[in-house]
């Protein structure tokens, strides 16, 4: 009998079905100040309850239609992948070759976005089907699912847009928010963004290894090594498949066609991966980086109420408008606001939920950021360009003497507090 693996991994997102976690501070008396300019604590309470009711209504209604939907998407994805991979073997007939590359790119996009991202959030765990189980799912890119789930489901979705806690603000690479300290490397905000766009899957993988956390002493060596190992295993598999095995398979065609066919197959795989990278990068950057999206300070969010947590998600996210096929290709990340409010309900439900969210935003006079893809992308790009310039305020420059002195003072105060 095949040996079964013990399925629970600490830090895997096996607890993703719990309601969203709140940020808790040391001083339990202190109340969070988020949203007080917009609502009273009582209103925030009602607001939270109403959103809870919306979530519960959808959860109670999950059933065959949702199961059929995700299986239909998986079916289309598999078909696109198989047909795409076959078509890439016909580079001497270029229309077929191009269609093949496009189909493979679409397959990878569907796998990463509508299937992978959403399944790994646990949106379909209730089906109890191992093929769509968040604990087991692995996606078609070089980032291992386990580390991505921790960094995304737990860190990013819990501490959304809180400076110093959400590692997704600018991905440690960009200055995308004016409250981020400026460093000289930020002069290259735009070229760096272009670079990351082309290699996005590698960026996601690197981000998940969390080298910065390890160097800052916040992660044990054993944990860091384990992450590195998982990443290496995944990279080896992905690279072997796309850039070695399929091109080598194409050598069988050489006697009947031409010597360059395996190279064309390799090129087709590279291009498909890059197309997926470009698409996912652009969609994901529109989620939290447009100009009007709010970020938060840890002090303001500590001991937040349920309603404040919801409000933080709304103010920290931006939607992209579009048609249904567009939404499916984004994995409904175009409904970023709804996704952040309810990360664990099947994404196909977001349009329906959005009606309630908009209604509540109207009632309480809250901002609801939504716009066309071109508008949001332009906003992100101009934000990156604008914030690349060195700010006048020396405290906003990370390596200025003023900032260093302030950080030192903070450290000393903390050490003193720890002593007493």
């Amino acid at each position: 009998m095949a040996k079964k693996r013990a399925p629970i991994q600490p830090l895997s997102a096996s607890n993703h079905n719990e309601g969203p976690k709140h940020l808790v501070g040391d001083d339990t008396e202190k109340r969070a100040t988020i949203g007080l300019d917009l609502m009273t604590y009582e209103q925030l309470e009602d607001f939270g309850d109403e959103l809870d009711a919306v979530r519960q209504r959808v959860l109670d209604d999950l059933g065959q239609a949702d199961a059929d939907y995700i299986r239909r998407v998986i079916r289309v994805q598999r078909a696109a992948e198989v047909v795409g991979r076959i078509a890439i073997f016909f580079p001497f007939f270029w229309p077929v070759f191009l269609v093949g590359i496009l189909l493979l790119a679409v397959a990878k996009i569907l796998d990463n976005m509508e299937i992978g991202h959403n399944v790994m959030h646990g949106q379909y765990d209730w089906m109890n089907d191992p093929m769509v189980d968040a604990r087991k799912f692995e996606w078609d890119n070089v980032a291992p699912a386990e580390d991505w789930k921790h960094g995304h489901n737990f860190v990013h979705h819990t501490y959304t847009n809180i400076h110093g806690m959400d590692r997704d603000i600018g991905y440690n690479m960009f200055r995308i928010d004016k409250d981020q300290p400026w460093y000289p490397s930020h002069r290259f905000n735009l070229p760096l963004a272009f670079f990351l766009m082309m290699l996005f899957e590698w960026g996601v993988m690197y981000h998940g290894v969390e080298l910065d956390e390890y160097l800052a002493g916040r992660m044990s060596k054993a944990e860091f090594k384990a992450r590195k190992k998982r990443a290496m295993v995944k990279i080896r598999r992905q690279v072997a498949k796309d850039y070695l095995l399929y091109p080598v398979l194409a050598i069988a065609l050489v006697p009947f066609t031409s010597w360059w066919v395996p190279l064309a197959v390799l090129g087709g795989n590279v291009v498909a991966n890059i197309l997926r990278n470009i698409w996912t990068f652009n969609i994901i950057f529109c989620g939290h980086f447009p100009a009007e999206v709010a970020t938060f300070q840890e002090e303001d969010a500590q001991n937040e109420t349920h309603g404040q947590w919801y409000l933080r998600q709304i103010m920290g996210s931006a939607n992209i408008s579009g048609h249904r096929p567009f939404h499916i290709l984004t994995g409904y990340l175009s409904y970023q606001v709804e996704h952040h409010l309810f990360p664990d309900i099947p994404a196909r439900r977001y349009p329906e939920v959005a009606k309630d969210v908009r209604r509540l935003c109207d009632t309480y006079g809250l901002p609801y950021n939504s716009g066309r893809l071109s508008k949001q992308l332009f906003s992100v790009a101009s934000q990156l360009a604008k914030l690349a310039a060195k700010p006048d305020d020396p405290y906003m420059v990370g390596n200025s003497p003023e900032s260093k002195a302030r950080r030192r003072a903070k450290r000393e105060a903390a050490a003193l507090a720890a002593q007493s």
Partner: protein
């Protein structure tokens, strides 16, 4: 065909389909083509009694067969959700058509058993595991064998009986079965036929509506064995049925020093004695830094009481979903009573209770 399956299931093909398995693709053509997952089609549903049915299944080529007495994890999808329960195989291993069956008693408010009995349609696809379990006959069946069952606990024993019949078993088999009444007895007619065969001594006792002039009556007592001429010390014995039946047989065998002859199968985890003398100490969940006083309940229940949400499937020690590392301490299996005290061993937390201080990687 077997070779093709083997190649498709190989790691080499897996390199081309990674991160998915080849089944993720074969499934799209036809679910029965899966080469790693066991699937089956329901061929027919036979009503055995007013409250029990036999489901005949045609498995796909992944199925590697079963030993009489084994069970399968049986998953059926209702409203998009797969529900998994465990059922013993009830058919003979000698069936030539490649089919096998499970037989199910519909519990009054049971979800899956009611569905199987009332709503299951032929052609439905079901999701299985390979056959599992140690409640099986030895390769060489001894000359004296006793099979005892109560109610729906007859299913694994029925598979043994049918297989022994079909293999022309020469030894002596005694079959002692307890049912509420003749009309509530599964496989009633087939049992009548088997009773006429020379290799069996069969005794069926109807506890609620005894048959007229019945030789034996009531629940299990040692006299029932004496009457049948059974010497427990020298007879390999298989028992499956309600907790009460299993407990009385076990007590009888313990008294006679015959427990080494006894094989038991539970359909339901016996209720845990939370006031056991060893329900002391502290249970520590290391990864989440939570401590709780050992309440005597299973570790799974105690973890849930502490606000954790460990993964689980069957909650009866079958599916292994809840398996997790125990860092330190001793735990007792609620069915077998066995104590496991090694450091760093993996245990199923749904069927283990802590004995004193225990720490778990949860």
């Amino acid at each position: 065909m077997a070779v093709v399956r083997k190649v498709l299931a190989s790691n080499f093909i897996g390199r081309f389909t990674t991160p998915h398995t080849v089944d993720h693709y074969l499934d799209q053509i036809h679910p029965m083509l899966a080469v790693r997952h066991v699937r089956a089609r329901v061929v027919e549903v036979i009503h055995e009694t007013g409250h029990a049915s036999t489901v005949v299944l045609k498995p796909n080529g992944t199925w590697t067969g079963f030993k009489p007495g084994q069970h399968v994890q049986f998953g059926v999808e209702v409203e998009g959700k797969r529900r998994v329960r465990v059922f013993s195989v009830s058919s003979s291993t000698q069936r030539k058509d490649g089919k096998f069956s499970v037989s199910v008693k519909a519990h009054p408010d049971g979800y899956v058993s009611q569905f199987l009995h009332n709503d299951m349609l032929p052609k439905t696809l079901v999701f299985l595991s390979q056959a599992e379990g140690d409640f099986t006959l030895p390769d060489k069946v001894p000359d004296d064998l006793l099979l005892v069952s109560g109610g729906s606990g007859i299913t694994p024993v029925m598979s043994m009986l049918r297989t022994l019949r079909d293999t022309g078993h020469q030894g002596q088999v005694t079959f002692l079965h307890y049912a509420k009444s003749a009309s509530d007895e599964m496989f009633h007619d087939e049992l009548d036929k088997i009773a006429a065969l020379p290799f069996v001594q069969m005794m069926r006792i109807y506890t609620r509506e005894p048959a007229e002039g019945a030789e034996l009556e009531g629940r299990f007592v040692i006299d029932h064995l004496k009457h049948l001429g059974i010497d427990p010390v020298n007879t390999l014995t298989y028992v499956c049925g309600p907790a009460g039946l299993i407990a009385s047989v076990r007590d009888t065998y313990t008294e006679l020093g015959a427990t080494s002859q006894l094989m038991l199968e539970y359909f339901k985890v016996p209720s845990v004695d939370v006031n056991a003398a060893d329900a002391t100490g502290t249970l520590t969940f290391d990864d989440s830094s939570i401590e709780a006083d050992n309440s005597g309940a299973t570790i799974l229940e105690q973890a849930e009481a502490a606000g954790l949400t460990p993964a689980y499937g069957c909650r009866m020690g079958v599916c292994n979903t809840c398996a997790i590392k125990k860092n330190h301490g001793a735990v007792r299996h609620v069915v077998s009573g066995q104590v496991a005290a090694n450091t760093d061993e993996t245990i199923k937390i749904c069927v283990h209770v802590p004995v004193g201080n225990v720490s778990i990687a949860l």
